[in-house]
Protein backbone atom coordinates (compact mmCIF):
# COMPACT_ATOMS: atom_id res chain seq x y z
CA UNK A 1 0.00 0.00 0.00
CA UNK A 2 1.44 3.30 -1.01
CA UNK A 3 0.84 6.07 1.44
CA UNK A 4 3.81 7.99 0.15
CA UNK A 5 4.16 11.38 1.68
CA UNK A 6 6.66 12.41 -0.99
CA UNK A 7 8.83 13.63 1.82
CA UNK A 8 11.88 11.67 2.85
CA UNK A 9 14.25 12.57 5.65
CA UNK A 10 16.79 14.11 3.26
CA UNK A 11 14.24 16.32 1.63
CA UNK A 12 12.96 17.51 4.98
CA UNK A 13 16.55 18.26 5.99
CA UNK A 14 17.14 20.26 2.83
CA UNK A 15 13.92 22.16 3.32
CA UNK A 16 14.88 22.88 6.92
CA UNK A 17 18.26 24.33 5.91
CA UNK A 18 16.64 26.31 3.11
CA UNK A 19 14.10 27.65 5.56
CA UNK A 20 17.00 28.49 7.88
CA UNK A 21 18.76 30.46 5.13
CA UNK A 22 15.56 32.33 4.29
CA UNK A 23 14.94 33.08 7.97
CA UNK A 24 18.59 34.26 8.23
CA UNK A 25 18.34 36.74 5.36
CA UNK A 26 14.97 37.81 6.72
CA UNK A 27 16.65 38.56 10.06
CA UNK A 28 19.35 40.69 8.39
CA UNK A 29 16.66 42.61 6.54
CA UNK A 30 14.71 43.22 9.74
CA UNK A 31 17.84 44.42 11.55
CA UNK A 32 18.79 46.82 8.75
CA UNK A 33 15.31 48.34 8.63
CA UNK A 34 15.21 48.66 12.41
CA UNK A 35 18.58 50.45 12.49
CA UNK A 36 17.45 52.81 9.70
CA UNK A 37 14.27 53.50 11.65
CA UNK A 38 16.20 54.46 14.82
CA UNK A 39 18.67 56.62 12.87
CA UNK A 40 15.90 58.52 11.06
CA UNK A 41 14.08 59.14 14.35
CA UNK A 42 17.23 60.62 15.94
CA UNK A 43 17.86 62.66 12.75
CA UNK A 44 14.34 64.11 12.92
CA UNK A 45 14.98 65.13 16.52
CA UNK A 46 18.31 66.65 15.49
CA UNK A 47 16.73 68.73 12.68
CA UNK A 48 13.97 69.87 15.01
CA UNK A 49 16.47 71.00 17.62
CA UNK A 50 18.42 72.90 14.96
CA UNK A 51 15.25 74.79 13.93
CA UNK A 52 14.28 75.73 17.49
CA UNK A 53 16.15 77.40 20.36
CA UNK A 54 17.93 74.85 22.55
CA UNK A 55 15.97 76.04 25.61
CA UNK A 56 12.81 74.81 23.84
CA UNK A 57 14.06 71.64 22.14
CA UNK A 58 17.61 70.59 23.00
CA UNK A 59 19.25 68.21 20.53
CA UNK A 60 20.01 64.54 21.09
CA UNK A 61 23.72 65.03 21.84
CA UNK A 62 22.96 67.52 24.59
CA UNK A 63 20.23 65.35 26.12
CA UNK A 64 22.28 62.17 26.01
CA UNK A 65 25.28 63.88 27.64
CA UNK A 66 22.96 65.21 30.37
CA UNK A 67 21.65 61.67 30.84
CA UNK A 68 25.18 60.27 31.04
CA UNK A 69 26.08 62.92 33.64
CA UNK A 70 22.98 61.96 35.65
CA UNK A 71 23.84 58.30 35.47
CA UNK A 72 27.44 58.97 36.60
CA UNK A 73 26.19 61.15 39.42
CA UNK A 74 23.73 58.40 40.43
CA UNK A 75 20.66 60.24 41.79
CA UNK A 76 18.61 59.29 38.76
CA UNK A 77 18.57 55.65 39.86
CA UNK A 78 16.62 56.49 42.99
CA UNK A 79 13.90 58.11 40.89
CA UNK A 80 13.86 55.26 38.39
CA UNK A 81 13.59 52.72 41.22
CA UNK A 82 10.72 54.62 42.86
CA UNK A 83 8.84 54.91 39.57
CA UNK A 84 9.45 51.25 38.70
CA UNK A 85 8.12 50.25 42.11
CA UNK A 86 4.94 52.24 41.51
CA UNK A 87 4.58 50.72 38.03
CA UNK A 88 4.96 47.22 39.46
CA UNK A 89 2.40 47.83 42.21
CA UNK A 90 -0.11 49.56 39.90
CA UNK A 91 0.29 46.90 37.22
CA UNK A 92 -0.17 44.08 39.74
CA UNK A 93 -3.39 45.64 41.00
CA UNK A 94 -4.70 46.44 37.52
CA UNK A 95 -3.89 42.97 36.19
CA UNK A 96 -5.40 41.15 39.19
CA UNK A 97 -8.68 43.07 38.99
CA UNK A 98 -8.80 42.87 35.19
CA UNK A 99 -8.21 39.11 35.29
CA UNK A 100 -11.12 38.56 37.66
CA UNK A 101 -13.36 40.87 35.61
CA UNK A 102 -12.25 39.55 32.23
CA UNK A 103 -12.59 35.87 33.12
CA UNK A 104 -15.95 36.26 34.85
CA UNK A 105 -17.31 38.35 31.98
CA UNK A 106 -16.20 35.76 29.45
CA UNK A 107 -17.45 32.74 31.37
CA UNK A 108 -20.70 33.99 32.89
CA UNK A 109 -23.44 35.71 30.95
CA UNK A 110 -24.74 37.41 34.07
CA UNK A 111 -21.32 38.84 34.93
CA UNK A 112 -20.87 39.84 31.30
CA UNK A 113 -24.03 41.94 31.32
CA UNK A 114 -23.49 43.26 34.85
CA UNK A 115 -19.93 44.52 34.38
CA UNK A 116 -20.56 45.82 30.87
CA UNK A 117 -21.90 49.08 32.33
CA UNK A 118 -18.96 49.41 34.71
CA UNK A 119 -16.53 48.90 31.89
CA UNK A 120 -18.18 51.48 29.66
CA UNK A 121 -18.19 54.02 32.51
CA UNK A 122 -14.59 53.18 33.29
CA UNK A 123 -13.51 53.77 29.72
CA UNK A 124 -15.46 57.00 29.40
CA UNK A 125 -14.26 58.71 32.59
CA UNK A 126 -11.04 60.62 31.82
CA UNK A 127 -7.99 59.28 33.68
CA UNK A 128 -7.35 62.77 35.02
CA UNK A 129 -10.71 62.78 36.83
CA UNK A 130 -10.10 59.31 38.31
CA UNK A 131 -6.64 60.29 39.55
CA UNK A 132 -7.74 63.61 41.08
CA UNK A 133 -10.73 61.94 42.74
CA UNK A 134 -8.51 59.25 44.25
CA UNK A 135 -6.06 61.88 45.54
CA UNK A 136 -8.99 63.64 47.20
CA UNK A 137 -10.60 60.50 48.63
CA UNK A 138 -7.51 58.55 49.69
CA UNK A 139 -5.15 61.47 50.31
CA UNK A 140 -1.99 62.75 48.69
CA UNK A 141 0.01 59.58 49.26
CA UNK A 142 1.54 56.62 47.45
CA UNK A 143 -1.56 54.44 47.90
CA UNK A 144 -3.66 56.97 46.02
CA UNK A 145 -0.93 57.34 43.38
CA UNK A 146 -0.73 53.60 42.74
CA UNK A 147 -4.51 53.18 42.72
CA UNK A 148 -4.82 56.21 40.44
CA UNK A 149 -2.37 54.69 37.96
CA UNK A 150 -4.07 51.30 38.08
CA UNK A 151 -7.73 52.34 37.86
CA UNK A 152 -7.84 53.83 34.35
CA UNK A 153 -6.06 50.78 32.94
CA UNK A 154 -8.42 48.18 34.41
CA UNK A 155 -11.39 48.51 32.00
CA UNK A 156 -9.29 48.35 28.84
CA UNK A 157 -7.30 45.42 30.17
CA UNK A 158 -10.46 43.60 31.27
CA UNK A 159 -11.92 43.87 27.75
CA UNK A 160 -8.69 42.49 26.31
CA UNK A 161 -8.75 39.52 28.67
CA UNK A 162 -12.45 38.87 28.10
CA UNK A 163 -11.93 38.65 24.34
CA UNK A 164 -8.93 36.38 24.83
CA UNK A 165 -10.83 33.96 27.05
CA UNK A 166 -13.76 33.95 24.62
CA UNK A 167 -11.31 32.97 21.90
CA UNK A 168 -10.42 29.66 23.57
CA UNK A 169 -10.98 26.79 21.15
CA UNK A 170 -13.80 24.82 22.78
CA UNK A 171 -13.32 22.02 20.25
CA UNK A 172 -10.03 21.17 21.95
CA UNK A 173 -11.81 21.01 25.28
CA UNK A 174 -14.33 18.69 23.63
CA UNK A 175 -11.42 16.54 22.48
CA UNK A 176 -9.98 16.45 26.00
CA UNK A 177 -13.35 15.46 27.44
CA UNK A 178 -13.87 12.75 24.81
CA UNK A 179 -10.51 11.22 25.78
CA UNK A 180 -11.49 11.48 29.45
CA UNK A 181 -8.80 13.95 30.47
CA UNK A 182 -9.36 14.97 34.07
CA UNK A 183 -10.29 18.48 35.12
CA UNK A 184 -6.70 19.24 36.10
CA UNK A 185 -5.26 18.01 32.82
CA UNK A 186 -7.87 20.00 30.91
CA UNK A 187 -6.90 23.20 32.69
CA UNK A 188 -3.13 22.74 32.68
CA UNK A 189 -2.68 21.24 29.22
CA UNK A 190 -5.58 22.59 27.17
CA UNK A 191 -6.81 25.85 28.67
CA UNK A 192 -3.65 27.41 30.09
CA UNK A 193 -1.59 27.24 26.88
CA UNK A 194 -4.44 28.94 25.02
CA UNK A 195 -4.75 31.68 27.62
CA UNK A 196 -0.99 32.28 27.94
CA UNK A 197 -0.46 34.28 24.70
CA UNK A 198 -3.40 36.50 25.58
CA UNK A 199 -2.01 37.04 29.09
CA UNK A 200 1.35 38.02 27.63
CA UNK A 201 -0.23 40.46 25.20
CA UNK A 202 -2.28 41.94 28.04
CA UNK A 203 0.84 42.23 30.19
CA UNK A 204 2.61 44.18 27.48
CA UNK A 205 -0.32 46.39 26.82
CA UNK A 206 -0.99 46.86 30.54
CA UNK A 207 2.59 47.80 31.45
CA UNK A 208 2.71 50.26 28.55
CA UNK A 209 -0.45 51.98 29.77
CA UNK A 210 0.43 51.85 33.48
CA UNK A 211 3.81 53.45 32.95
CA UNK A 212 2.24 56.49 31.30
CA UNK A 213 -0.33 56.71 34.11
CA UNK A 214 2.38 56.52 36.77
CA UNK A 215 4.23 59.47 35.25
CA UNK A 216 0.95 61.31 35.25
CA UNK A 217 0.12 60.63 38.92
CA UNK A 218 3.68 61.52 39.93
CA UNK A 219 3.41 64.78 38.07
CA UNK A 220 0.06 65.57 39.68
CA UNK A 221 0.72 64.73 43.28
CA UNK A 222 4.01 63.12 44.25
CA UNK A 223 7.35 64.53 45.35
CA UNK A 224 9.52 61.76 43.96
CA UNK A 225 9.98 59.59 40.89
CA UNK A 226 10.67 60.26 37.23
CA UNK A 227 7.31 61.98 36.68
CA UNK A 228 7.96 64.39 39.53
CA UNK A 229 11.47 65.14 38.24
CA UNK A 230 10.14 65.84 34.76
CA UNK A 231 7.59 68.26 36.18
CA UNK A 232 10.21 69.85 38.44
CA UNK A 233 12.65 70.52 35.60
CA UNK A 234 9.79 71.74 33.41
CA UNK A 235 8.97 74.35 36.04
CA UNK A 236 12.66 75.33 35.96
CA UNK A 237 12.53 75.68 32.14
CA UNK A 238 15.22 73.01 31.95
CA UNK A 239 14.13 71.05 28.88
CA UNK A 240 17.43 69.20 28.62
CA UNK A 241 16.79 67.49 31.98
CA UNK A 242 13.11 66.91 31.13
CA UNK A 243 14.13 64.98 28.02
CA UNK A 244 17.07 63.27 29.75
CA UNK A 245 14.75 61.83 32.42
CA UNK A 246 12.17 60.84 29.81
CA UNK A 247 14.88 59.17 27.73
CA UNK A 248 16.20 57.24 30.73
CA UNK A 249 12.80 55.71 31.19
CA UNK A 250 12.38 54.95 27.52
CA UNK A 251 15.52 52.81 27.84
CA UNK A 252 14.22 51.05 30.94
CA UNK A 253 10.89 50.27 29.26
CA UNK A 254 12.62 49.12 26.07
CA UNK A 255 14.67 46.71 28.15
CA UNK A 256 11.55 45.28 29.82
CA UNK A 257 9.75 45.03 26.50
CA UNK A 258 12.49 43.52 24.36
CA UNK A 259 14.63 41.55 26.78
CA UNK A 260 12.03 40.21 29.18
CA UNK A 261 8.66 40.06 27.43
CA UNK A 262 10.19 39.36 24.01
CA UNK A 263 12.03 36.33 25.34
CA UNK A 264 8.93 34.96 27.02
CA UNK A 265 6.98 35.48 23.81
CA UNK A 266 9.49 33.61 21.68
CA UNK A 267 9.22 30.67 24.06
CA UNK A 268 5.45 30.61 24.10
CA UNK A 269 5.12 30.88 20.34
CA UNK A 270 7.78 28.27 19.54
CA UNK A 271 5.07 26.24 17.78
CA UNK A 272 4.08 29.13 15.50
CA UNK A 273 7.49 29.39 13.88
CA UNK A 274 8.04 28.05 10.30
Amino acid sequence: MALVTGFDANASGRIASLAGAIAGSERVRTTVITVLSVVSLVALWQFGSMALPSSVLPGPVRVVSALVANVLQGDIFTDIAITLGRIAAAFAIAMAVALVLGFSMALSRTAGIFFQVWIICGITIPALVTILTLYMVVGLNDTAAVLGAAAPVIPVLAINIREGVKGIDTRLIGMARAFRAGRRQQIVSVMAPQVAPMLLASTRFGIGLVWKMVLFVELLGRGSGVGYKIEFFYQMFNMTEVLAYALSFVFVMLFIEVAILGTIERRIFRWKRN
Binding site: T5, M175, R177, F179, Q185, S189, V190, W271
Partner: protein
Amino acid sequence: MTYPFRPPAPVQAAMSQISLTDIHKQFPGRGGAGGWKALDGVSFDIATGEIVGLLGPSGCGKSTLLNIVAGLDDTYEGTVAIQGKPLAEQIGQGFRVAYVFQEARLMPWRTLRENIEFVLQAADFPRTEWAGRIDRVLGLVELAKFADFFPLQLSGGMQQRASIARAFAIEPDILLMDEPFSALDELTARRLRQSLLTIWSAFRTTILFVSHNAFESTFLGDRVLVMSPGPGGRIREEISLRHIKRPRDYEDTALFVESKRVVESLQRHMGNRPEHH
Protein backbone atom coordinates in the same frame (compact mmCIF):
# COMPACT_ATOMS: atom_id res chain seq x y z
CA MET B 1 6.94 -5.66 20.47
CA THR B 2 8.52 -5.51 23.88
CA TYR B 3 5.84 -3.45 25.55
CA PRO B 4 2.56 -4.97 26.61
CA PHE B 5 0.01 -4.51 23.86
CA ARG B 6 -3.22 -6.39 24.12
CA PRO B 7 -3.47 -9.14 21.52
CA PRO B 8 -5.96 -8.25 18.77
CA ALA B 9 -9.46 -9.22 19.77
CA PRO B 10 -10.82 -12.08 17.71
CA VAL B 11 -13.76 -11.14 15.51
CA GLN B 12 -16.77 -12.54 17.31
CA ALA B 13 -19.93 -11.57 15.57
CA ALA B 14 -21.99 -13.47 18.09
CA MET B 15 -20.98 -11.49 21.15
CA SER B 16 -22.30 -7.96 21.33
CA GLN B 17 -19.92 -5.61 23.01
CA ILE B 18 -22.17 -2.59 22.97
CA SER B 19 -25.91 -2.59 22.86
CA LEU B 20 -28.17 0.40 22.62
CA THR B 21 -31.80 -0.18 23.43
CA ASP B 22 -34.62 2.18 22.61
CA ILE B 23 -32.66 5.43 22.84
CA HIS B 24 -34.72 8.60 22.86
CA LYS B 25 -33.20 12.02 22.99
CA GLN B 26 -35.03 15.30 23.29
CA PHE B 27 -33.24 18.65 23.14
CA PRO B 28 -35.02 21.29 25.19
CA GLY B 29 -36.48 24.11 23.13
CA ARG B 30 -35.63 27.72 23.75
CA GLY B 31 -37.98 29.32 26.25
CA GLY B 32 -39.62 26.01 27.20
CA ALA B 33 -41.22 25.51 23.78
CA GLY B 34 -41.41 22.03 22.22
CA GLY B 35 -37.74 21.50 21.51
CA TRP B 36 -36.16 19.07 19.11
CA LYS B 37 -36.59 15.32 19.15
CA ALA B 38 -33.21 14.14 17.93
CA LEU B 39 -33.59 10.39 18.43
CA ASP B 40 -36.79 8.42 18.52
CA GLY B 41 -36.21 4.85 19.59
CA VAL B 42 -32.80 3.79 18.31
CA SER B 43 -31.63 0.26 19.03
CA PHE B 44 -28.63 -1.63 17.71
CA ASP B 45 -25.73 -3.83 18.82
CA ILE B 46 -22.06 -3.69 17.95
CA ALA B 47 -19.89 -6.78 18.18
CA THR B 48 -16.30 -6.71 19.37
CA GLY B 49 -13.95 -5.80 16.56
CA GLU B 50 -16.77 -4.73 14.29
CA ILE B 51 -16.85 -1.56 12.19
CA VAL B 52 -20.32 -0.08 12.08
CA GLY B 53 -21.32 2.98 10.09
CA LEU B 54 -24.24 5.26 10.84
CA LEU B 55 -25.35 6.78 7.58
CA GLY B 56 -27.89 9.53 7.19
CA PRO B 57 -28.51 13.12 6.20
CA SER B 58 -27.41 15.97 8.41
CA GLY B 59 -29.68 16.53 11.38
CA CYS B 60 -30.70 12.89 11.77
CA GLY B 61 -29.08 12.59 15.19
CA LYS B 62 -25.93 10.67 14.22
CA SER B 63 -23.56 12.85 16.22
CA THR B 64 -25.95 12.85 19.15
CA LEU B 65 -25.73 9.06 19.17
CA LEU B 66 -21.92 9.19 19.15
CA ASN B 67 -21.90 11.56 22.11
CA ILE B 68 -24.19 9.22 24.01
CA VAL B 69 -21.96 6.20 23.35
CA ALA B 70 -18.91 8.33 24.29
CA GLY B 71 -20.53 9.03 27.64
CA LEU B 72 -20.41 12.77 26.97
CA ASP B 73 -24.18 13.06 26.97
CA ASP B 74 -26.18 11.31 29.68
CA THR B 75 -29.51 13.05 29.29
CA TYR B 76 -31.33 10.46 27.20
CA GLU B 77 -33.91 7.74 27.65
CA GLY B 78 -33.12 4.11 26.99
CA THR B 79 -30.10 2.01 27.89
CA VAL B 80 -26.56 1.73 26.66
CA ALA B 81 -24.84 -1.42 27.88
CA ILE B 82 -21.21 -2.45 27.57
CA GLN B 83 -20.95 -6.21 27.76
CA GLY B 84 -24.19 -6.30 29.65
CA LYS B 85 -23.31 -3.58 32.16
CA PRO B 86 -24.51 0.02 32.08
CA LEU B 87 -22.20 2.44 30.25
CA ALA B 88 -21.86 4.85 33.17
CA GLU B 89 -20.45 2.05 35.37
CA GLN B 90 -18.03 0.87 32.71
CA ILE B 91 -16.53 4.25 31.99
CA GLY B 92 -15.00 4.50 35.43
CA GLN B 93 -13.73 0.91 35.17
CA GLY B 94 -11.10 1.36 32.49
CA PHE B 95 -13.45 1.15 29.51
CA ARG B 96 -11.63 3.36 27.05
CA VAL B 97 -13.24 5.51 24.40
CA ALA B 98 -11.32 7.27 21.64
CA TYR B 99 -12.64 9.85 19.24
CA VAL B 100 -11.70 11.02 15.77
CA PHE B 101 -13.39 14.27 14.89
CA GLN B 102 -14.13 15.90 11.57
CA GLU B 103 -11.17 18.20 12.20
CA ALA B 104 -7.90 16.81 13.56
CA ARG B 105 -8.28 18.71 16.87
CA LEU B 106 -4.58 18.51 17.65
CA MET B 107 -3.20 21.07 20.05
CA PRO B 108 -1.13 23.34 17.78
CA TRP B 109 1.39 24.17 20.51
CA ARG B 110 2.31 20.52 21.00
CA THR B 111 4.23 18.27 18.63
CA LEU B 112 2.52 15.13 17.33
CA ARG B 113 4.34 13.15 20.00
CA GLU B 114 3.19 15.51 22.74
CA ASN B 115 -0.37 15.44 21.41
CA ILE B 116 -0.43 11.66 21.73
CA GLU B 117 1.19 11.87 25.15
CA PHE B 118 -1.77 13.96 26.23
CA VAL B 119 -4.27 11.14 25.63
CA LEU B 120 -1.91 8.49 27.03
CA GLN B 121 -1.73 10.54 30.21
CA ALA B 122 -5.51 10.96 30.24
CA ALA B 123 -5.91 7.17 29.89
CA ASP B 124 -3.40 6.57 32.72
CA PHE B 125 -0.83 4.63 30.72
CA PRO B 126 2.49 4.35 32.56
CA ARG B 127 5.06 6.82 31.25
CA THR B 128 7.46 4.02 30.37
CA GLU B 129 5.06 2.78 27.68
CA TRP B 130 4.53 6.15 26.01
CA ALA B 131 7.45 6.20 23.58
CA GLY B 132 6.79 2.65 22.36
CA ARG B 133 3.11 3.29 21.79
CA ILE B 134 3.69 6.59 20.03
CA ASP B 135 6.32 5.15 17.71
CA ARG B 136 4.09 2.23 16.84
CA VAL B 137 0.93 4.18 16.02
CA LEU B 138 2.76 6.93 14.15
CA GLY B 139 4.60 4.24 12.20
CA LEU B 140 1.29 2.60 11.28
CA VAL B 141 -0.02 5.85 9.79
CA GLU B 142 3.40 6.56 8.20
CA LEU B 143 4.16 9.62 10.26
CA ALA B 144 7.09 8.22 12.23
CA LYS B 145 9.43 10.90 10.83
CA PHE B 146 7.10 13.66 11.85
CA ALA B 147 6.76 12.79 15.53
CA ASP B 148 8.50 16.00 16.59
CA PHE B 149 6.76 18.28 14.11
CA PHE B 150 4.11 20.72 15.17
CA PRO B 151 0.65 20.19 13.59
CA LEU B 152 0.75 23.49 11.69
CA GLN B 153 3.88 22.29 9.88
CA LEU B 154 1.88 19.45 8.34
CA SER B 155 -0.86 19.20 5.73
CA GLY B 156 -4.51 18.73 6.73
CA GLY B 157 -4.40 15.10 5.67
CA MET B 158 -1.30 14.42 7.75
CA GLN B 159 -2.89 16.13 10.74
CA GLN B 160 -5.94 13.92 10.44
CA ARG B 161 -3.72 10.83 10.15
CA ALA B 162 -2.02 11.93 13.36
CA SER B 163 -5.41 12.24 15.02
CA ILE B 164 -6.18 8.66 13.95
CA ALA B 165 -2.86 7.54 15.42
CA ARG B 166 -3.72 9.39 18.63
CA ALA B 167 -7.02 7.53 18.86
CA PHE B 168 -5.38 4.11 18.45
CA ALA B 169 -2.54 4.92 20.85
CA ILE B 170 -4.77 4.36 23.87
CA GLU B 171 -6.06 1.07 22.42
CA PRO B 172 -9.67 2.06 22.95
CA ASP B 173 -12.43 -0.44 23.60
CA ILE B 174 -14.41 1.58 21.13
CA LEU B 175 -13.35 4.16 18.60
CA LEU B 176 -15.93 6.75 17.63
CA MET B 177 -15.48 8.77 14.45
CA ASP B 178 -17.64 11.73 13.51
CA GLU B 179 -17.39 12.38 9.74
CA PRO B 180 -13.63 11.88 10.00
CA PHE B 181 -12.81 12.41 6.31
CA SER B 182 -15.45 14.86 5.16
CA ALA B 183 -13.23 17.93 5.53
CA LEU B 184 -10.58 16.50 3.19
CA ASP B 185 -10.36 16.35 -0.59
CA GLU B 186 -11.39 13.00 -2.05
CA LEU B 187 -7.87 11.85 -2.92
CA THR B 188 -6.56 12.54 0.59
CA ALA B 189 -9.70 11.02 2.09
CA ARG B 190 -9.12 7.82 0.10
CA ARG B 191 -5.59 7.46 1.39
CA LEU B 192 -6.73 8.12 4.92
CA ARG B 193 -9.48 5.49 4.75
CA GLN B 194 -6.82 3.00 3.65
CA SER B 195 -4.58 4.20 6.43
CA LEU B 196 -7.39 3.77 8.93
CA LEU B 197 -8.06 0.19 7.84
CA THR B 198 -4.35 -0.62 8.02
CA ILE B 199 -4.03 0.55 11.59
CA TRP B 200 -7.37 -1.08 12.41
CA SER B 201 -6.14 -4.44 11.16
CA ALA B 202 -3.29 -4.21 13.67
CA PHE B 203 -5.64 -3.62 16.60
CA ARG B 204 -9.09 -4.89 15.51
CA THR B 205 -10.68 -2.07 17.44
CA THR B 206 -14.44 -1.82 17.57
CA ILE B 207 -15.42 1.24 15.55
CA LEU B 208 -18.64 3.20 15.35
CA PHE B 209 -18.53 5.95 12.77
CA VAL B 210 -20.86 8.51 11.36
CA SER B 211 -20.92 9.50 7.71
CA HIS B 212 -23.13 10.98 5.06
CA ASN B 213 -21.03 9.42 2.32
CA ALA B 214 -22.51 6.12 1.13
CA PHE B 215 -19.34 4.96 -0.62
CA GLU B 216 -17.20 5.70 2.43
CA SER B 217 -19.57 3.79 4.70
CA THR B 218 -19.51 0.82 2.36
CA PHE B 219 -15.74 0.87 2.06
CA LEU B 220 -15.13 0.95 5.81
CA GLY B 221 -18.03 -0.86 7.40
CA ASP B 222 -18.93 -4.42 8.30
CA ARG B 223 -22.44 -3.07 8.58
CA VAL B 224 -24.14 0.17 7.68
CA LEU B 225 -27.15 1.43 9.60
CA VAL B 226 -29.23 3.80 7.50
CA MET B 227 -30.99 6.47 9.51
CA SER B 228 -34.07 8.48 8.65
CA PRO B 229 -33.81 12.26 8.56
CA GLY B 230 -34.56 14.18 11.74
CA PRO B 231 -36.49 15.16 13.72
CA GLY B 232 -36.95 11.86 15.45
CA GLY B 233 -34.04 10.04 13.84
CA ARG B 234 -34.26 6.27 13.89
CA ILE B 235 -32.61 3.36 12.12
CA ARG B 236 -34.51 2.38 9.00
CA GLU B 237 -32.36 -0.30 7.49
CA GLU B 238 -29.35 -2.40 8.30
CA ILE B 239 -27.10 -3.46 5.44
CA SER B 240 -24.48 -6.13 6.05
CA LEU B 241 -21.21 -5.76 4.17
CA ARG B 242 -19.31 -8.54 5.87
CA HIS B 243 -19.01 -10.46 2.62
CA ILE B 244 -16.75 -7.77 1.07
CA LYS B 245 -13.31 -9.15 1.72
CA ARG B 246 -10.67 -7.37 3.80
CA PRO B 247 -8.20 -5.81 3.29
CA ARG B 248 -10.49 -3.74 1.15
CA ASP B 249 -9.58 -2.45 -2.25
CA TYR B 250 -11.09 0.57 -3.96
CA GLU B 251 -11.20 -1.41 -7.21
CA ASP B 252 -13.26 -4.26 -5.77
CA THR B 253 -16.46 -4.55 -7.83
CA ALA B 254 -18.39 -5.85 -4.83
CA LEU B 255 -17.78 -2.44 -3.27
CA PHE B 256 -19.48 -0.64 -6.14
CA VAL B 257 -22.43 -3.01 -6.16
CA GLU B 258 -22.93 -2.64 -2.43
CA SER B 259 -22.43 1.11 -2.32
CA LYS B 260 -25.16 1.39 -4.99
CA ARG B 261 -27.41 -0.63 -2.71
CA VAL B 262 -26.59 1.67 0.20
CA VAL B 263 -27.31 4.80 -1.86
CA GLU B 264 -30.67 3.36 -2.91
CA SER B 265 -31.52 2.60 0.69
CA LEU B 266 -30.52 6.10 1.72
CA GLN B 267 -32.73 7.62 -0.98
CA ARG B 268 -35.63 5.39 -0.02
CA HIS B 269 -35.52 6.50 3.59
CA MET B 270 -34.87 10.17 2.99
CA GLY B 271 -38.55 10.48 2.04
CA ASN B 272 -39.97 13.75 0.88
CA ARG B 273 -39.35 15.64 4.08
CA PRO B 274 -37.42 18.86 3.81
CA GLU B 275 -33.87 18.68 5.02
CA HIS B 276 -33.26 19.98 8.51
CA HIS B 277 -30.14 21.63 9.74
